[in-house]
């Protein structure tokens, strides 16, 4: 017996009564009362579990709840015992294999119920002459219930034949019976079918720009399209950012704010000056407001991985620092929540949306308003690239940190521009250049992060009173300082790779239109 379970598709329109009847002809069958249970599939907003082939499934039959976990598509579905409830975040789990596996897939993201299936089951058992169960047969009706709604739709009927260990002969007989019935073996999983039915899956959550721009499109239309998409991403992440459990929502929210502001100020002379001024001020205010939230989130996370390397007693010494960070975060988070829930915020965003959705041409047009977007994109990317090269080339081992921060900002601008206009260029080529830029940005980003983290710790030391915690914090500062130096030392090499002749040629080829061509 190779298999210990067989699944068949049963026609939706047929009832099970006739099947049970004919089973009784060949076998001694015990039928238990029909039972109902719910399968709820948990996932992150961006379907990290499903994408990884993992699954976290809660079964609830009204009496008890069972949580099942599959680490990847080749792993078996395994029950997780001893859990009182489904965790929202991986870190809420006790340390162990399950937590480790879950965290490796969802990282810091939050789990929520995404799909619910109701199963109506008629359990049958095939008995031998001692009235011992030798095969189990489940007759299942699977219903899809979008989470929180009451109307279901039938996904399909299935028959599941399960072997009972050590009774192979009986299983073979039941298998033969079902083969004779000419039922189609079922391979599909109900979760996939449910997902296809689910209307919610059509409004996919995504933080990617996914813009398709027409090269001939006037710049003003393109800019509106870019900004509208960014507004969408911002709005998709607002509820999560307000809730604050899953820190990725705030992160994505902030990225879209930063990109909005960059698009406004970098893609110059398309919108009227006063529009640019008004909204870039608004978005930069939001950015500043949320800076400390993100900084503390990132640092708290770092602190956890740092603390894991310490002994128990040292870990306790970190508690005042942790508390300090948490307090600062909570304060900043509250200020953010107050702002986004205000009437004023809503009003500005509505005005912004109205402006972006209006199809009226800008009057009077600014210098670049009607320029074809591809031409403007070339000019902007090329000139920003030139600035990056110039700034980078001026940096030597002796240069002040300030210059690296400037270059980091320029690179970020360049990166955003390349992403905004990505669809105007051959996909593979632009991606290669984005990746080359990424290599440099990682180095500059790390350098900056160390700086921010040292600043936070210095702030703690100045405000703090706990001797032991300050000692640990001071030690961390010197560690970070060393790391920052190492990062600084590898800058030259990273920059050399980025500014290689080969890359320069590629940039030229892509973004400089030769006059004779």
């Amino acid at each position: 017996m190779a298999n210990n379970q067989l699944d068949f598709v049963f026609p939706d329109k047929q009832g099970f009564a006739e099947l049970i009847h004919s089973l009784r002809h060949g076998f001694s069958i015990r039928q238990s009362p029909a039972a109902v249970y719910y399968r709820t599939f948990y996932d992150t907003v961006d379907w990290l579990l499903r994408t990884a082939g993992s699954a976290l499934e809660l079964h609830d039959d009204g009496q008890s709840q069972k949580l099942y976990w599959r680490a990847n598509k080749d792993a078996p579905l395994r029950i997780q015992l001893g859990l009182k409830q489904v965790p929202q975040l991986a870190k809420q789990l006790p340390a162990g294999e399950f937590r480790q596996q879950l965290a490796s897939v969802i990282s810091v993201r939050e789990l929520n119920p995404r799909i619910q299936i109701k199963v109506k089951r008629i359990p049958l058992a095939v008995l031998n002459k001692n009235e011992k169960v030798v095969v189990r047969i489940n007759l299942d009706e699977n219903w899809f219930y979008p989470v929180k709604t009451r109307a279901g739709m039938l996904l399909g009927k299935r028959i599941c034949v399960k072997a009972v260990k050590g009774y192979d002969e009986a299983f073979d007989q039941v298998e033969a019976f079902f083969h004779e019935m000419d039922l189609r073996p079922s391979q599909d999983n109900m979760m996939k079918l449910a997902l296809a039915e689910s209307k919610s899956s059509t409004i996919e959550y995504s933080t990617k720009l996914k813009l398709l721009l027409d090269p001939e499109m006037p710049a003003e239309e393109a800019l509106k399209a870019i900004l509208l998409r960014l507004l969408e991403i911002m709005e998709q992440n607002t509820a999560g950012a307000i809730k604050g459990t899953d820190i990725e929502f705030m992160h994505d929210y902030r990225v879209s704010i930063r990109k909005t502001r960059s698009a406004l100020t970098l893609i110059k002379r398309v919108f009227p000056k006063k529009t640019v001024k008004k909204y870039s001020k608004f978005f930069s205010g939001l950015g500043k407001l949320t800076n400390p939230v993100r900084d503390m989130d990132v640092f708290l996370l770092k602190l956890e991985s740092y603390a894991e390397k310490l002994g128990k007693s040292k870990q306790e010494q970190l508690q005042p620092l942790r508390q300090y960070l948490q307090d600062n975060r909570d304060k900043a988070q509250q200020a953010y929540v107050d702002t986004v829930t205000s009437a004023e915020y809503r009003q500005v965003l509505k005005g912004w949306r109205d402006y972006l959705e209006s199809t009226d041409p800008i009057e009077p047009p600014q210098k670049n308003s009607r320029k074809p977007v591809s031409q403007l994109a070339n000019e902007l990317i090329w000139s920003t690239y030139q600035v990056a090269l110039k700034e980078g080339n001026a940096i030597t081992d002796e240069t002040e940190a300030e210059a690296l921060h400037e270059l980091r900002k320029t690179c970020k601008k360049l990166r955003y521009l390349m992403e905004f206009f990505q669809s105007l260029y051959p996909a593979k080529k632009i991606l290669e250049l984005i990746n080359a830029l990424k290599g440099l940005q990682d180095n500059l980003g790390d350098f900056n992060d160390y700086h921010v983290h040292m600043d936070i710790l210095k702030g703690f030391n100045e405000a703090g009173t706990d001797e032991a915690a300050i000692k640990v914090s001071t030690k961390m500062i010197s560690r970070l300082d060393k790391k920052q130096h190492a990062t600084r030392n590898s800058f030259a090499e990273r920059f050399r790779a980025f500014s290689s002749q080969e890359n320069q040629n590629e940039f030229r080829e892509l973004f400089v239109v030769s006059n004779d061509g």
Binding site: H59, K66, Y68, L81, G82, A125, K132, V164, K165, G166
Partner: protein, 249 residues
């Protein structure tokens, strides 16, 4: 995988009844559960309507590679399998004595099942021997059903002493009161004032109950045919207590 042994030198104290009912409750939780009927008398096998026979006997089981798995039978309950008893188990000492390190042997025998089961319950025969010693070594928990009588308490003391002498981890030992009959004065006295050499024990106990006796007629765990009985409830709270000990440590 957690190995839970139900053990006592004495017979007739409710070992098998406990092993059968607790393993049933584990399987109801969805845990993949195995109960190994180590008593040649085969009471646990009988309760699950499975013949107390293993091809090749105990000798074959300890020698082979895959013999254990091949001998396992599914019970009437989903997630609950049974490794049947065999009359040859009465010689388990001799069988185990033939292999190197008999105390480690059981551990190694059960190792391949770690991927397949969340819990293995060992329903032990009433004796003390090298076979019991390999159970002591392998088990994560050793449940000792103890009837609240003077003699039973004395037996418990002996087990404890033996454990300490042989340097087994005495922390594994968890006694509980079984077949408690509160109509009897002595039972009441002992249960309400457990002796000082029993500082750690399960809070839950199992009463003397006719439903448990009826398991032999129904050939099923009490939870199956008398789910609302006091006896079934008591096993249930004992299982909850065991889980909290295992998972909330």
């Amino acid at each position: 995988m957690k190995i839970i042994a139900i053990y006592n030198i004495k017979g007739g104290v409710g070992k098998t009844a406990s092993a059968v009912n607790l393993s049933y409750l584990a399987s109801l939780d969805g845990a993949r559960t195995l109960i190994w009927d180590l008593d040649p008398q085969g009471a646990a096998s009988y309760y699950f309507r499975i013949k107390a026979k293993v091809k090749g006997g105990g000798q074959k089981l300890v020698e082979g590679h895959n013999e254990l798995d091949a001998a396992i039978k599914g019970t009437d309950y989903e997630n609950l399998d049974l490794l049947p008893a065999d009359f040859s188990y009465r010689n388990m000492d001799l069988i185990l004595d033939n292999v190197k390190k008999p105390t480690k042997r059981l551990n190694r025998l059960l190792e391949p099942l770690a991927e397949e089961y969340d819990f293995i319950f060992l329903d032990c025969p009433p004796s003390i021997s090298s076979a019991s010693e390999s159970v002591f070594a392998a088990a994560d928990m050793l449940l000792i059903p103890t009837i609240p009588t003077t003699l039973s308490l004395r037996t418990y003391k002996q087990i404890l002493k033996f454990f300490k002498q042989q340097k087994y981890d005495a922390m594994k030992i968890l006694p509980f009161f079984a077949m408690v009959d509160r109509r009897k004065q002595l039972h009441r006295l002992i249960v309400d004032n457990p002796p000082s050499f029993m500082p750690v024990k399960l809070d839950s106990s199992i009463p003397y109950a006719s439903e448990i006796e009826r398991m032999g007629v129904n050939r099923a765990p009490v939870g199956d045919f008398a789910a609302n009985s006091r006896a079934a409830q008591c096993y249930k709270s004992m299982w909850e207590e065991l889980k909290s000990l295992m998972f909330e440590a």
